[in-house]
Symmetry: D2
Subunit: 356 residues, 4 copies
């Protein structure tokens, strides 16, 4: 208890910031010592500034916590012991703020997309590529930082990338056609107007399709001296918004390098275990859950599997257009837990274990 | 006016039957002379037996029409002048009833799937393959019928097939990866329980994925002496249910036989015109509407284009996984109008023009 | 045709502004000669500035119309012939702009609430109180205007007030307990965030409950020399938001002054006819439609009755807590047609008839 | 552990049956020893017969449990130690089955409505009227049973009745106008078709409005020798279905016997504590939670308060139509937990404490 790591949450009033706060309640390794918000909310009490849109209530012990500006100096003055920083900042603010915190000696676990593709920044899903965290050493040296930046992926990528890891290891992955049906919480709050999504589907999400390919290749890539060597996987994505609160569904049509039956593919996923995260507080018992029922996974019924941290896979079958090297299936991952705040937490827990 | 064709609607109390009744109101070519229902409802008034689930009210002039049994003899006795029959029967009843009506001299326009793949039965979207109606002559001869059976496609197939017609004509279509987000009305009434679809996506629709490939190949196939020669197109489908009232969205990743830019593909669709249906009452002004706005088509906002009979296409762009022969886009078609009752009506109107 | 009245739409880019534009397409009496928007959009083409959220497409003939500032002078310079002005302005802009247009000689039909309760401004639903339009004469004299302001009611009030008119005429209305279930379109666009309303009900709409009582009393009041004498009716309201696109449902528990059976109350509503609007383009055939089916009215199935201008009433039964003077029922009215743009149009048509 | 009471769940495959199974997992006082279903499912494994519609997965240890027929003899033969029986039976089966179990010595905690109004059957919400359980003694004597039947209320009644208890105790309750917005899960599975409720409200729920009044009066009534003396409270209800998964909202306009301010009414609810249930496993910490936020309670955000067992109250304000004796507010209760399975569990726990 006395050894909990002091952490700050940047952008604590928004939807992802609230998830951080929720997931950090009673966390065995981390303890919130600072919450930041935009200048407009600086100096207000948390309960006053945050329109709480997450299920349940705002944690009682943080209701009256005074909000700091999102500024490294301000956090250092108010809570000099802060070591880890969880960032729920939008790209505009993340661009300047995150390096400033890193320069000041804090390790930033970021949900923004702005540094994800930087060559010296690890983009990490621990069960997929915990080893990439080693890039931090190079990042610090190259940038002269005492802290650093670790990114987690776009929320749409997390399910597909997790499901591809065991396939890529055993059979090699060559091409992927994927189509997403994404939850409204992925757009934050207030986000998607109800007049746009009721009795409707939105067939476009700005910038999303490009990220799916680029991030998947980096996640499954190989760690080099000073950068990640992207995996040689071609990815095509159609991204859509549907009326679901939480949980991104993604259909996958995958061409492997070598032949595999759907049963072998499912077994590879079932067998998949990641020693790097075993036993960590935010790690689910099963990184991947393979469903047998024909009509699963479903967002409402399966998104909370593994506390929202498991990726659900279902409908595993032959992709006939790729012959004996083709499989197709559906993935589901909770976009604001696994694909956002929970992902950052697990990144931090994994790094902590490596450091000790 | 005096020459309107007398028609019957089989299975008039269900969701598709109601659409037939609605679309046949004030139809310039057809006049309802008989409505049939299951034995349970025989002899009841239409307004009494039909739980009206369609927008607007049950047509006043049909409220008191007495329901007949779904039996060719019963229809002939009650309305011997009946020539065309619109069938909204489920497969179980269609299997015996539709041939019986055909044998009795009536031409059946069917929404059931049971005879769609029969070699001598035309499966028709008039703008795609009106010429296949000529197969009726062989059907009559071979089966000794004076009437016949004409099928329309699965509601999920209609948008994709329509969009592929001009592409196949100009560039050749080789492979298609498609993923559907289908409306709840596609499952009929009562159909999908609200507890299953609220805040949810259902990733499985029984028998649907197989139909998408088979029907697309037949629709785009070539008319032979006594059968259709299937088009040589490989199709992969993932079919999903989302919470939308009407309108099936389908993402399309298409590999062409020859190179084409997205602009050329869009132009081919814009240019597409079908002389066979021009001016028919149920034919939309534009068979295909190509949207420029990045976030269209959308089910609620675009499904009623062309009175529910146009196919909307949008987000035309390069499918990079197929290089210069690849395009990808989204289609939307109204599943209970274009994909069901309206499709049958247009089939009937097209045949009528050919006969005269 | 040559005699169509030239009209302007103020705030044409928003949700209600779009409805005005939609309903004015091919209107037999009015012709749009000017569209205004906020300063930010001035000088832009309509199609460029308006994010079209209404069903169907933006009218082709207005796509390239250049937007004017919402300024009486600007409209007079660009379209000096403008006589009627339909205002979809929010209260902040309406407060100054509407009087300016009135001063400049134009008659403003307003959807804003800011002048509804002003003593010399008629608040009108023509079938309820067309006679109140006579207050315009006093308004002009008192304010020295050559034009004027006519308000329509809050969208929640229109159904209840319409249903109370025949009851008040025949039996007298003493007390009303009403509870609304209001559509999301009532909050405009972007309006209600989807994260707030999916799988949810919002039990509070700012300022709404107060308006229900005050506006009902004014609508059913008596025209005096220079003001309306409010009706002596006590009204209590609970206002809620539910996930429905269009159509406000309101439950009504009514205490009458004299005894009436539910059948008599229903008959009073069925008999109700308003000569003032008979035959006007936007007037529905039936101001009130009384449903017999136990489970009607329903928003999706009944909101478009009478082109969205009829009020639907159903579930008429005894309110036992008021004994033989009590009835209870449900009302439904389309909030963006009858309760907003369509209501203003009918006000303008009614005034036009009175003037001629 | 060794002293857990052996219990059976009747009708275990339906929606309420599944909730029983879910809530009984790891229950400290009860242990499932038998699951029953309709004849059709008898002899099947639970996982095979139950289409699991509840969140999360079917409990692993019950997947393979063999289903018994819903027959007292069958349960006694298979699990003779069964003492308590939780019944999720529909009325048709409950009518004969529940007395049979009671006759055979088991105490039935029933969700059916069929025996709720029987004069010798306690209808209980423990925090409202735990004392009524004493009626069981008379019931046993009069009917010659060694077991008995205890009913819980209609799911719509639970929130209102709970909120009225402290008001009735302090101020007296005279009249109540209430309007419900009920969740779809209240209709069971498959229940409400999605085509009926999407973008819609259903203004009618069969038999519901009558129950609200009758059950409220019995719940708040006084225990007599051999029956409950109904409370003298007049109740009017309008019942509606809205598209919410779980959680019934009810607006309340209450006329008290004596004057009270909204603050006094809220304080009476906040102060309310029920010694009869304090510390029981299913009892929430607060029977009633009074919200200060203007826009609460909301179903999705508040239904799980107190593990789904607390009643949320909000928007407490003056009901002006009743002057200084009037208050109005909103209640929310989880219909399948507090209003169904959880309510029965708490009834059983309360009885158990009384017996010991």
């Amino acid at each position: 208890m006395t050894t909990r790591i002091p952490v700050a949450v940047l952008g604590a009033t928004g939807a992802v910031g609230q998830r951080f706060v929720q997931l950090l309640q009673n966390h065995p390794l981390f303890e919130i010592v600072a919450l930041t918000a935009s200048d407009r909310s600086e100096g207000k009490r948390y309960a006053e500034a945050a329109r709480w849109v997450t299920d349940g209530d705002i944690p009682a012990e943080l209701r009256d916590r005074m909000l700091l500006a999102t500024d490294a100096g301000a956090v250092q003055r108010a809570a000099p012991e802060t070591r880890f920083v969880f960032s729920a900042l939008p790209n505009e603010s993340a661009q300047e703020a995150e390096p400033a915190f890193a320069r000041a000696g804090m390790t930033v676990f970021s949900n923004a997309s702005v540094y994800r593709m930087a060559s010296d920044v690890p983009l990490v899903i621990p069960e997929v590529n915990a080893g990439h965290l080693a890039l931090l050493r190079h990042q610090r040296a190259a940038r002269g930082w005492t802290g650093g930046i670790v990114c987690n992926t776009n929320c749409t990528v997390s399910g597909p990338a997790m499901s591809l890891r065991p396939l890529h290891d055993r059979f090699g992955v060559k091409r992927v056609f994927c189509v997403s049906m994404q939850a409204i919480s992925g757009a934050g709050y207030p986000g998607v107007p109800s007049l746009d999504i009721t009795d409707n589907v939105l067939p476009f999400i700005k910038g999303e399709e490009e990220k799916v390919g680029a991030e998947t290749r980096k996640l499954l890539g190989a760690l080099g001296e000073d950068r990640i060597q992207d995996a040689d996987i071609a990815v095509s994505a159609h991204c859509n918004r549907v009326q679901v609160i939480d949980g991104h569904m993604v259909t996958m049509s995958v061409e492997l390098e070598t032949a595999a039956t759907p049963e072998q593919a499912a077994q590879a996923m079932r067998d998949y275990a990641c020693a790097d995260v075993a036993g960590l507080p935010s790690a689910p018992e099963h990184a991947i859950i393979v469903h047998d029922a024909l009509d699963r996974p479903q967002p409402r019924r399966d998104r909370m599997n593994g506390g929202g941290m498991s990726t659900s896979v279902g409908r595993m079958r032959r992709e006939e257009l790729f012959g004996e090297r083709g499989i197709k299936y559906m993935t589901l991952a909770h976009n604001t837990i696994r694909g956002a705040a929970g992902g950052s937490l697990l990144n931090a827990e994994t790094l902590l274990r490596m450091l000790w």
